[in-house]
Amino acid sequence: MDSRARNLLDEALGLDQLTQLKPPLGGKAVLIEDCVETSGSFVLHQLIKRLLTAVPNSSNVVLFLAFANPFSHYDRILRKLGCNLGAQREKGRFIFVDMLNVECPVGEEGKAGGRSGLFALFANITKVLNALPESNRKCLTIVIDDVSLMEVAAHGSSDHVLDFLHYCHTLTSDYGCSLVTLNHEDIYSSMDGLVFLKQMEYAADVLVKVEPLATGLAADVHGQFDGLQMTVLNRGSLNNRMSNFQFRIKENSVEYFYPGARA
C-alpha cells in the first residue's frame, strides 16, 4: 500500500522515476495552490523528503526560500517523515534561506549600490547555482514557501515578484533546475488579483490544487488534490495528464487514495 500510495503523488508531480542520472523534477516548474481551509504545505514536505532521501548518494540539492516558517518548524516535520534536515544542511544538500524577517523593498533601480531586495535574492540564487559543479546544476530544486508572503515583503509590488519568478523560470531552461512554488489561491479571487495567479499558472508545467472537500470537514479525509501536468511533446502537441485523489495527512506520512476507496 505504501509503495502504491507514494506513486499517486509522485505520478501527479511527474516524479515517477527517481534515478541518479535524471534530475528529479526534470527541470519543471511546479505551482502548488492552497487555501485557508486546507494547507498545501504537506506537498512541499513530501517533495523535499523525496528529493533528499529517495535515492541514496544522489546529488540533489534543495534551495529553500522560507517566508512562512522558521527552520525549526520544517526540521521537526521532516524528521517525523524520515529526513534529517540538519544533517542534509551540513552536507550542503539542503540550503535554507530564512526570509521571515527580511524586507525586500523595491527601490529605484538607479540608486547607487541600492540593489532591491528581490534582485539581491536572485543574485544569491545564482551564486548557489554557480557554486555547484557544472554537471550537478540540473539537480538543483528551488522551493519557495510562499509567494504571497514574498509579495508582502516586497510591499505589494506584484510586478517585481512576477519578474523574480520569471527569472527563476529562466534558470529552469538555462540550467535544467526545477522550481517549486506555493501560493494561496483564495487571495487572488478578485479580478485584479487573478492576473497574478494566472501568470503563475501559465508559467508552470505542473499545477497542483489542494482544496477542502466540497462536503466540509472530515476526520478521515483532509482534502482533495487536483494535479495537472502539461508536457509538450516533440511535435508540439500538448499532453495533459490530470490526477485527482484525496488525502489524509498523518504525522509520519500522508495517505493518498481515490475518492471512495479508503484502504
Binding site: S39, N101, V152, G156, G193, I249
Partner: protein, 296 residues
Amino acid sequence: MAATKTRTSSFSRNLPAASSAQSPEIKCGPNGTFLVSSGIPDLDKTLGGGIPLGSLVMVMEDSEAPHHMLLLRNFMSQGLVHKQPLLYASPSKDPRGFLGTLPSPSSPKDDKSRSHDAEQEKGLRIAWQYKKYFGENQSNLDGQRGMILFRFIVLCEWEMLSFIRSLKSTVRSAIAVAIITFPSSLVSATFCKRWQHLADCLVSVKAIPDEDKELAKLLTGYQDIVGFLNIHRVPRINTQVPAVLEATTLSIKLQKRRYLVLECLNQAPVDGSSGSSYGTSGSCSGASSKSGSLDF
C-alpha cells in the same frame, strides 16, 4: 507516586531542561511547543490545551458589537495574573479605560494597579507609532515570556501586512504570543484573505441580534447567548497534520455578567410543525450539558 509507577518502555521522553524551571502557566504541548492559556478554559480545550508560544492569533471583529473585547479582556487578565509582560496597543483615545474593565478574580488590587501603570505607558506609545516602537519591542521580548495585544484600525493595507509579518516573525523567535483583533468588514476581500493566511490561529466573533425568534426556536439557552465564536484555524506549529475540530462554532455566554463561557451549540427540540431541523449553518448539536466543561 512516582515510585509505584511501572516503566512500560525503556525509552523516556527527553524533556528540555527548561521545563523544570518553568512557570506553571506554560504547559508542554505536542511537537515541542509550549502552550499558554488564553484565559478562557473552554477555548483552551477546543484548541487542544492552549495557544502555542510563538503563534499569532487573529480575531475577526464584528463591526456591530464589541464582543471581541470580551476575548481580549480575558487574554489580558490571564497575562496579568501570571505577571507576564504585556503590550497593549489600541487606536482608542483612552487605552486606560479598557484596562479598567479587566476582570480580576484573584490578584489583589494594589498589584493590579501597579502592573497596569507599566502597561499603559507602552500601550499609549505604540498606538500611534507602530514602527518606531517595534524596534524597542524586540529587545523587550527577548528572553521573556509575554503577550502582545493589538487592536487595529486599518492604515495602508500593504504596510499593515508587512507589520504583521514582522510581528509574526518576532513572536516566533521570542517566547511570546500576539493577539490581534481587526474589523474584517473594513478590509477588502483579498487583504482579508492575506490576513487570514498570516494567522496561526484564526477566530471570528459574531454578534447575534437580541430578539431573533428563528434563532430562539433553534437553540437552547438563546437568551444567555451573547454571540458566536467561529474557529477557522487552529495553530499548527511544528506539524503538518491539520486539526479537525468537532465543533467550529461555539456560543459565547456570559455567566453572572463576568465569566465567559464557550459552549457547543445545543439545538432545541424540534417542533413538529416547523420544517427545518438543521437551520443554523455551522452549528453542531452537542450532547453536552449546559455547563461548558466536561470532566472525563
